[in-house]
């Protein structure tokens, strides 16, 4: 969920912009190096960004029965790594603000911090940790579990950060920041835990299909290695 244009007081909007800037600058440098070393990757990075944009517009069936949109930050971080996602996420959020009126320009810094920085880093951390714990088991299960963990944590951490941002901006008149965090966090947890589970399941299904149809791309992106055992149905082909 994007924080709408003008929703945050200007001091908070500016502070989140300053907090996000180092990560986006670091990502922009990484992206510039990547493009300088391999100019052909400009197109692949553009395709990755467009994929992230379209992915966030897909409607997923929620566990509660309604439909919602995935954040796409977990899958993006697993496929393209968090520093690159900081830039791609920033461009995606800018496009969403100007093309769809989702989010805004004054709240871009806050949205970037939750969706393009904390979400991808937390999701990628959960993904790497789970893979390192389960990889010795072999087979496809570790990847599925790690992808689920990455997408689930990325989604949930994004909304936790959004709750903190809103609670800091609008502290409760009686109980201050903790009370406001309980209010915003309580509302989000009702909707977001089912949605985070949904996004985790969807991401596992997407990666399973990609393993069959785009194995080469996943190897090139470092998600799979050549040595990794292939699925039984792939062996039989």
């Amino acid at each position: 969920m994007h924080i709408a244009e003008g929703y945050l007081p200007w001091e908070h909007a500016a502070a989140w912009g300053v907090a996000s800037a180092p990560f986006v600058v670091h990502g922009a440098r990484a992206l510039t190096r990547e493009v300088r070393d391999r100019p052909e990757n400009t197109l692949l990075l553009g395709a990755s960004g467009a994929f992230s944009f379209v992915l966030s517009a897909l409607k997923i069936p929620s566990v509660t029965g309604s439909c919602s949109h995935p954040t796409g930050t977990g899958l993006g971080a697993v496929l393209f790594r968090p520093p690159i996602m900081a830039v791609l996420g920033t461009i995606t959020l800018l496009f969403q603000a100007l093309l769809l009126a989702h989010g805004g320009l004054t709240t871009l810094g806050a949205n970037v911090f939750s969706m393009a920085i904390v979400g991808p880093w937390a999701g990628y951390g959960a993904y790497r940790l789970t893979r390192s714990l389960l990889d010795r088991r072999g087979g496809t299960m570790p990847l599925d579990v790690a992808v689920f963990a990455g997408a689930f944590v990325a989604d949930l951490s994004t909304y936790c950060v959004t709750s903190v941002q809103l609670a800091l901006a609008f502290p409760d008149p009686d109980s201050g920041f903790p009370g406001a965090l309980a209010k915003f966090g309580g509302i989000f947890s009702l909707t977001q835990i089912p949605l985070a589970i949904s996004e985790g399941l969807l991401t596992v299904l997407v990666v399973r299909l990609l393993r069959q149809s785009s194995r080469g791309d996943l190897i090139r992106l470092g998600v799979l290695t050549d040595a990794r055992p292939v699925r039984e149905e792939e062996k039989s082909k």
């Binding site: 300088r36 395709a47 069936p61 496009f95 406001a180 969807l202």
Partner: protein, 247 residues
């Protein structure tokens, strides 16, 4: 095309330099966020609507459709300001309605100011000029590829979705899950396949790492910028004067 981008391409201000419109829209956006919501946000909203509907000829229906979703978010979010959590339970927040009203007014006015820019300035006009304000060329090139590719992917998504619906792929919850996952992976495959084809096409044309596009050389209108600055200053002064005389 996406409705806002389509409207921007057909806008009466399409031929104006993006900097002209940025000074006006972002100036008013700054006023909406930084000035006291009452009467600042109301003055900004009235000013933006007058300019958008009267001068920039933004279609009112499309503007409303674009504005209603973020406005809905602002209203829903503002409801939380009405209640307060205390040691003895939950109660009504003192001054809650005033704070909620101010938040909705500020967010609504700021959203309209941003939409004034979005509805009059296609992203294809903005992106090539970003290098002049210090954005690295590599980032601008990636953003330009994203912008051009996302319309193709949206089209692909709509077609696959239609095909899945035609094959009863949305009939049950299980089928819907399978369809959405298939859609996500198909979009990924399409995006990468198209990027590779673009790469091969560009390689045959001597691609050296930069994506050069022709940009209309439209001069910045000093008159328009001066009038915009004057209008923004007038909104600031009027807000401060009204605030000082109102109870």
């Amino acid at each position: 095309m996406l409705p806002i981008d389509a409207a921007a391409h057909a806008s009466a201000w399409r031929r104006r330099h993006p900097a002209d419109k940025a000074v006006l829209s972002f100036g008013l956006l700054g006023c909406a966020v930084a000035l006291p919501p009452w009467p600042g946000a109301v003055l900004v909203a009235v000013t933006v609507l007058t300019i958008a509907l009267g001068f920039a000829e933004v279609p009112a229906r499309r503007l409303w459709r674009a504005a209603r979703a973020p406005l809905g978010f602002a209203v829903t979010g503002a409801l939380t300001l009405l209640v307060s959590i205390r040691a003895d339970g939950v109660g009504w927040a003192p001054d809650g309605p005033r704070h909620a009203g101010e938040l909705v007014a500020r967010s609504g006015a700021a959203g309209l100011a941003m939409l004034l820019f979005a509805f009059t300035t296609p992203l294809s006009d903005v992106l090539p000029r970003l290098t002049r304000v210090g954005v690295p060329a590599a980032v601008v090139d990636v953003a330009a590829v994203m912008y051009r590719m996302l319309f193709l992917l949206y089209d692909t998504t709509a077609r696959i979705n239609q095909a899945q619906a035609g094959r009863l792929g949305h009939r049950t919850r299980r089928a819907r899950w399978r369809s959405v996952a298939g859609l996500g992976s198909a979009v990924f495959v399409h995006a990468f396949a198209r990027a590779r084809r673009l790469e091969e096409g560009l390689a045959g044309r001597g691609y050296d790492g930069r994506l050069r596009v022709l940009v209309d050389e439209v001069p910045v209108s000093r008159g328009f910028v001066a009038r915009s600055v004057f209008l923004v200053a007038a909104v600031v002064v009027a807000t401060l004067l009204l605030e000082s005389v109102m109870p």
